[in-house]
Assembly symmetry: C2
Homo-oligomer: 223 residues x 2
DNA sequence: ATATGTATCATTGTATACAATCGTACATTA
DNA sequence: TAATGTACGATTGTATACAATGATACATAT
């Protein structure tokens, strides 16, 4: 890992602040806190058994991650994601995933490729069985592997961030019927990467995200 | 502005933390602090006349912005940008600027378009005169207008972040002879946007960044 | 009745005190 | 001499005290 990668890996798991940050992030993304809900420093601190200081520092970071919005002298509020935000994220991701796939053709390791193949294979099984929970996990992991295989910490971080946001949305449309089709597209991307066909990999990954978005809309996501 | 835009605008100018954050950010980007230099909470606090608390909170944010790296229980260090980071950033930007240009064809306002035209016109003048400092400012501004004209706060923030990083690098290669050529490309992008030709705008903006990177390399940037 | 002023309280903003940690210098030992 | 142990100081991590701010409720005036 480049000693100078921007967009730092978050975050120090062993400090109180780090634990508060991770916990809050999880809780927000999982939907424990409603959109717009106010987070009070003391309350959060008491819940996690820490003072306000680490909570405040975690808040500052969550603000920059876009998960909460801090109004000076007033409070911290869980941010919502508008329909337009979701669309923008998908469109941005479509470009960047394409780039990641292209770079993966150059940088993927044997281990990563193997995990990708296994992922596709396993997903095929779960798709047939209708195991949506597992499909969801495999889908998430497929994209993570892709990001890692890009060989770019910068790109990896960007995409992981976006992916995180979208998870909130994706969970709502989990049981849609896209599973098998999505996995077929994964397979195509995987094969293109294996064949070191950069142009094709980029094109397929790009289309994959566009398709995912269109499916999201079709399955009735609005906000 | 969407009340739910992720990637918050940074930051509360009127709190001490906000001032510390902005000041440190400026100082790092301007090169006042060397890469790798250690930032001590007390020293920074004394310099700015505040206690450690707002400094620490600003540090946490700067860390997430990627400008410093915090080693737990040890210290905060100004991050360096490797040659590969720079390349990755340019490649990512090339995709996203393309997207921004495409969206700008749909969302640009008359006022924005006018400023863009004026920008190109003025730059032509300064390019002839060899006014590199002004060219630099105009170039920066051109891209900012483009980001704003995209109509996507998400994309705008992403690109502004990347642009910031790159400014550190660009300053080193300021007086290269690319000014006029770059401005011609700006003009092309501007015309494509004015003509509402999304495909062309995306293509030109994409190429523009690639060219900028190649010029950077040619003019001897290494690290 | 509505508008405005004011007291009060909850909450955030900041400073500071204390605890934990890390690095260094020096002593000790083989 | 080289390796290891240890004490000390500098720095960060956390808790808490106090200040500033904003919201609310109630009183007062028009």
């Amino acid at each position: 890992m480049s000693d100078s990668d921007l967009k730092q890996e978050v975050t120090d798991k062993y400090s109180l602040r780090g634990r508060v940050f991770s916990r809050l992030r999880e809780d927000i993304l999982s939907g424990k806190y409603e959109e717009g809900e106010e987070l009070r420093e003391v309350a959060i601190g008491e819940e996690l058994g820490v003072s306000r200081t680490p909570v405040r520092e975690a808040f500052r970071q969550l603000e920059l991650e876009g998960l909460i919005r801090i109004v000076p002298n007033k409070g911290a509020y869980v941010t919502g994601i508008s329909g337009k935000d979701v669309k923008d994220i998908y469109m941005i991701r479509s470009r960047l995933e394409g780039l990641a796939a292209r770079w993966a053709t150059e940088h993927i390791t044997d281990v990563q490729l193997e995990e990708m193949e296994e992922n596709v294979y396993l997903a095929k099984f779960h798709a047939e069985k209708g195991h949506y929970e597992q499909l969801f996990e495999l889908d998430t992991r497929f994209h993570e592997i892709l990001y890692e295989a890009s060989g770019s910490k910068m790109l990896e971080h960007q995409l992981k961030d976006f992916h995180q946001y979208v998870i909130r949305v994706r969970k709502k449309t989990l049981s849609s019927a896209r599973g098998p089709k999505s996995n077929l597209e994964h397979e195509g991307i995987m094969v293109a990467i294996r064949d070191k066909d950069g142009d094709l990999a980029e094109k397929l990954a790009h289309e994959h995200i566009i398709n995912a978005y269109e499916n999201l809309i079709k399955s009735g996501y609005t906000k």
